[in-house]
Amino acid sequence: MAMGKSDEGMRSSRLVFYKEDIEKIDRVLLQFLKSANAKCALLVDKDGHLVTKSGEASTYDMDTISALVAGSFAATKQMAKLLGEEEFSIMFHQGKKDNIQLSLVGDRTILSIIFDDKTTLGMVRLYAGQVAMKLGTLFDEIAQRKSEAESISKDFGQAAKNKLDDVFGS
């Protein structure tokens, strides 16, 4: 196996989020939660990884929700294509107490908003549309800007391998 050889398909699509970017995103999400009176907002990338979260999210299994959100969105996209649409940009699931709305932000992230009967779907949709635009602009700025480089440690590779030996046995 030629490890370390480049494979553009995988390499070019790697997602890196820096602290300052996430802080900006968090501020936008927090403002949104106040305006829409929603419980919690999650930003998930299309591969199912959580980017950031805001609000009352501590009780949820974020990893699983993120994976299912991305899977659900991907499946819906396929459905849309079969119907001649490029994709459905909004999805909504209604529960007895909590509801979730998913909307696409930019090309690669999904905004998931969990809300209950303290607010309405109309309010959530209204403000979600605005926040999606703000985040889209923010993502454009982030993509354009050169970051002054946080980086994972050079020891990361060896440390991770040692850790894998510890966890899975040598």
Partner: protein, 326 residues
């Protein structure tokens, strides 16, 4: 794709178990779930049919803890093996950082193995991924079958890339962790090569290729498999019973529902309980209790303009009547 999140101090990698139906992909995840220590394996979620066949994917997060200051997680997915589920299989493969191909050692399943491998290649190609270059291993499962094909023969037919292979009896947990560890190390090695030595000034989202390729440091740790070697980790002692799909976990798999709700049981419950998707949506915003304010964020300013206009009209009317009275 690997997500590196400096705000959350996380590195997240996606591993996909691929292979023909009933080759043991879900079993691999179930056994990893059982064998991984407390607090390492998260909840195993399956989106499956009533017959316990994977409909969309199985999912399990694996948190190996902090590595060089970064919380490192592997997200394990399986794909549905049946031929007719290719569209969902392809969706799950999207963004994969590494792939395990789980092959069935039963000679009668060789054509299924070959079909699935061909399908994997096609789907990878659609994502612009080359099986020779991505972290990719093959697991020869069901080595305990009495008629299991010899590893050399399996290698000859399935492993034309000379990638690492592992023998396994997933139903007994043999070779399962070795396979996962081997692939995980390949992913980490690649990540470290590509990113760990990347100089400052990288573009943020998405990250570009590194400016200069660092000298590749081959791992000192035990390599998963030398390329030509058929099987680096032997798992199979040759017991007799064939390996049907096990149910090592009391399974209440989500039944034909596209969403699975996480179990409320703290941390380690095996399968999420099914929760039917809502059939109807709420009324449209127009019928909601709080009507949408015109102009959204500018609603406050609009209200003041309206008040001023009303005052002006009232004032003008009052002035008109006063003048007429005179």
């Amino acid at each position: 794709m690997v997500q590196i999140n400096f705000a959350r101090r996380e590195v997240n990698c996606k591993i996909v178990y691929y292979g023909p139906g009933l080759s043991g992909k879900t079993t691999n995840l179930e056994l990893i779930h059982q064998k991984a220590g407390q607090g390492i394996a998260g909840q195993l979620t399956s989106i499956a049919t009533e017959q316990d066949r994977t409909l969309f994917f199985d999912f399990m997060p694996l948190d190996i803890g902090s590595v060089a200051g970064m919380k490192t997680k592997f997200f394990l997915y399986t794909v549905p093996g049946q031929v007719y589920y290719n569209s969902t299989r392809k969706l799950v493969l999207q963004g994969a950082d590494g792939v395990v191909f789980v092959a069935d050692s039963d000679p009668n399943r060789m054509s299924d193995n070959l079909d699935s491998l061909k399908n994997l290649e096609e789907n990878l190609k659609d994502y612009n991924l080359d099986p020779k270059k991505i972290p990719f291993v093959i697991q020869y499962n069901k080595r305990d079958l009495p008629a299991a094909m010899p590893v050399a023969e399996l290698d000859n037919k399935l492993n034309r890339w000379k990638i690492p292979t592992y023998e396994a009896v997933a139903v007994k947990g043999e070779g399962v962790m070795q396979t996962l560890k081997g692939l995980s190390k390949m992913i980490i090695e690649r990540l470290n090569d590509d990113y760990g030595k990347q100089p400052a000034g990288a573009t943020a989202v998405p990250a570009p290729p590194p400016a200069a390729k660092p000298a590749t440091a081959k791992p000192a740790a035990p390599a998963p498999a030398p390329r030509p070697a058929p099987a680096p980790v032997a798992a199979a002692s040759k017991p007799s019973a064939p390996a049907p799909r096990p149910a090592p976990v009391p399974a209440a798999r989500a039944q034909s529902t596209p969403s699975a709700k996480p179990s409320p049981m703290a941390g380690r419950s095996t399968h999420g309980s099914a929760k039917p998707a809502p059939a109807t949506a709420r009324p449209a915003p127009a019928t909601s209790k709080k009507p949408a304010r015109g102009g959204g964020g500018g609603g406050g300013a609009g209200k003041w303009v309206a008040i001023i206009l009303i005052l002006l009209v009232v004032g003008a009317a009052a002035a008109y009547f006063v003048l007429r009275m005179k």
